[in-house]
Symmetry: C3
């Protein structure tokens, strides 16, 4: 079950720069993306209306795609514009097209009711293309339902255990209680860990200061679209970070993590991890991203194993623990939206 | 859903020459073929009546097969003729046998009501063993329902696109309207392409004449059994081919393509491509077959990709285009036969 | 469908000696085994109560296991004893634990009603750790339902065919009629083959005497738990074996073969093959086991192929032959027990 009325990330912009067409399964359907000669992004169903051949096995002809089975031609809006052997085209030959917006180095796609595709609903992910911040666009494929990944993002107590030697490195993370707030369909969590003895393992060798640390994770998950935006960092203990002062030595990060369902059992995970120090040092940006990726692999292994067990136990109830209020709020919002879409669908 | 009252090709004759037994899944059931000492072909269910061990894991003993699990012995008619430890055999121990006919270098099998297995119903495929024609027996396995393969054979507009650089090579093929005729359960298509600038790419280097070409595809699909028989060729433009005159320079071919369902998602494709020039030049026969096989690979890739999409969209309707009358007629005949068999089955 | 109120073998004892934890799927559920510091065996569901992460991805902490997703800690009884961030633990956080008994070098587990887990119900498998007998603990994984393996054990007519060149070597085995007895939920079979010309192929080179042979297979299958215990051997013909005299030259064996369902389509097969001659000659013990394993591979190939056919024919009836009385009795007992458990479950 997917929320359809939402802006999802379908691709990184750069993925469409070096290929004439790209097919990706989103919300259970195969979508064909391509960049037109004018530079805009077309997204149409990757399934010929005629006998369901994949259009991705077809051929770009200008801003159109020719199905290379029997030759129908579709334009960037999915309209069938040529049928061999006749003037005009037969009825019902158009394929579905999807509204897209290219923003923050990403291609956003709306797979629900096109009338509702208001670009102003796209969350602000500007750290991905703000020159004051540096990051690398990255991608992970998950063999897991998107909700298990969101659960993970909404419960950072896992940093202590899953990421003991990478992103975590402190038992405090599992022991403090975050502030959890709901704002419309957004879940906001605030977590401060004050006076920790040192920086997290993944920052070893990158430190900008020595001694005890105030760490924080302040993040929002925008449920429709599954856009997770995080302000995190480490500052010298007592330098005023909780009060809003971010001294020069503070190591600040802005993570963007976006989960797009591929189908009921698979997900796409688009991420970047921006830093505002060492700007221009591409080697640092790459090394930081590699450390983060290592941590994310730990998540993936755990979540895919969890998915196996969930599949074996479809009717069993999970226990609710004290760390679950963020995760439970996220699930509630998803369920509300799914129910609302079902009602709207009649 | 398979039409059962039909002669299907189960094997090439030569496949049974170098093995004591061969198992092949046909219409969802495993069938064991073997050649008796008298040279006839036995075809029995490849499943012991006792505990369903495959008889293909058994042993030939004369014209019988011994199940090597607990030792029951079956003759070439599937009759259980020995049960260890007793005189005679227990009841209900026979396995099903199937009528077969060996003809045109192929083994034909009837998996429906044996009372209806009239050998005169087998279509004439004599080009496969006529000394005036040369060909090589060939086989392709398809991960696709047989109907998608028949669709392909009944709509040659695909030659222009799928086989642009091999069997096709001309936009005309997609643009002309074939003559489509029904004759009982046979679909007949006639396609002429007159005054084409040159021969098809797959014939490059094989040409027997130069200059413009009259090409044709005249073929029949015999629906029960899925036997596709084609008269095709290229002659000097204006040399009278459409009127029935086939001059010596004409390159004539007789293709036999037979689709036998393996199960709901897989098919066997037996084919040969006979030529009546360069007879005795085995190297030519081999090279021609290799070029055809290259084209058939293009079909296979497209059809298997199509099958994936069809499986994902079981309830969606395909669009009907102008090229579809052959294909639609084929589907109609299949549906009629399937319905008739269901009525007969009560 | 599994009988749950039974002692099953979950592991060889030694498997738990060199690992901190071991997960194995039994009766469709993943079970986590570990040896406590006191040496006893813990067996708990390998699924965290919280979000179903596998506990086998967790960490041993003393006699407890910490889930390395969000940090819940479980003791050897499955009781949740620590939840990060709070005193005590949330409700419903315990995981299921299973009674175990370590006996005969094996770990026995009871996955049904724990109140019925009476250790005295475990069949006597003492040949596995009796110093007068030597054997090697062995294991085979089967892609087959446990019942097909029991069928095999209950019908030794298959030795003549499946094991023609290994364990069998005599047509007599398939031709004699065994004595079949029921004793509660145990099936007992007695088979004597007197005056055979020689020993079985698998004993070639191991013979302790020459000339004609009296062979026997006397075995019991204890249905709940699927414990197969066999007294078999070869003695000089006429030396009195059938009357109970076992002369020194007799080659005597005690086989223990235990089938534990993994899930509906897979099984665990734990076996040993004890001999009471050449004691202390480890090379002989190994060679003997290797010969037996070769024979068991023949079974596995046949049974897995049979399972494929059974899956394709779920509604077809198997024929009943004269050799089937042991097998049929086994099936009847299984069905009785399954029905009784279903009635008890309401
Ligand atoms: S499937 Fe695309 S034109 Fe036929
Ligand atoms: S399965 Fe063939 S004889 Fe038993
Ligand atoms: S899944 Fe085990 S503690 Fe959360």
């Amino acid at each position: 079950m997917f929320i359809r009325d939402a802006w999802y990330v379908g691709a990184w912009s750069h993925e469409l720069d070096t290929t004439s067409m790209m097919s990706r399964r989103l919300l259970g359907d195969n979508v064909l993306f391509f960049r037109t000669t004018g530079g805009s992004i077309a997204a149409i169903r990757d399934r010929c209306s005629h006998r369901f051949a994949p259009l991705s096995m077809g051929r770009r002809e200008g801003d159109c795609v020719r199905c290379m089975y029997h030759g129908l031609v579709f334009d960037a809006d999915g309209k069938c514009v040529e049928e061999p052997g006749r003037k005009g085209v037969s009825p019902n030959t158009d394929v579905r097209s999807y509204p897209t917006v290219e923003r923050y180095k990403q291609v956003w796609i709306w797979m629900g009711d096109p009338a509702k595709a208001d670009a102003s609903l796209i969350p602000d992910c500007h750290y991905q293309d703000d020159p004051a911040w540096a990051s690398i666009p990255a991608y992970i494929h998950y063999k897991a339902d998107y909700r298990l990944i969101l659960d993970n993002l909404l419960d950072f107590s896992h940093l202590t255990y899953v990421h003991e030697n990478t992103l975590g490195g402190s038992a405090t993370i599992a022991h403090i209680r975050p502030k959890v707030e709901r704002n419309g369909d957004t879940v906001r969590l605030t977590r401060w860990y004050l006076g920790e003895p040192g920086i997290a393992p993944y920052l070893n060798g990158f430190g900008t200061f020595e001694g005890p640390v105030d760490r924080w994770h302040i993040y929002e998950l925008h449920i429709p679209g599954n856009v997770f935006l995080m302000d995190s960092g480490s500052a010298p203990a007592g330098s005023g970070a909780p009060e809003g002062r971010r001294v020069d030595e503070a190591m600040q990060f802005r993570a963007t993590q976006i989960v797009t369902p591929e189908d009921e059992q698979n997900s796409h995970f688009f991420w970047s991890y921006a830093h505002n120090f060492n700007i221009g040092d591409e080697d640092f940006t790459r090394k930081l991203a590699a450390r983060i990726a290592e941590g994310f692999e730990e998540d993936r292994l755990m979540i895919e194993a969890q998915q196996d067990e969930v599949n074996r136990s479809p009717n069993d109830k999970m226990a609710f623990i004290i760390a679950d209020n963020g995760l439970a709020l996220g699930r509630r919002i998803i369920d509300e939206r799914l129910a609302a879409e079902q009602v709207a669908a009649g």
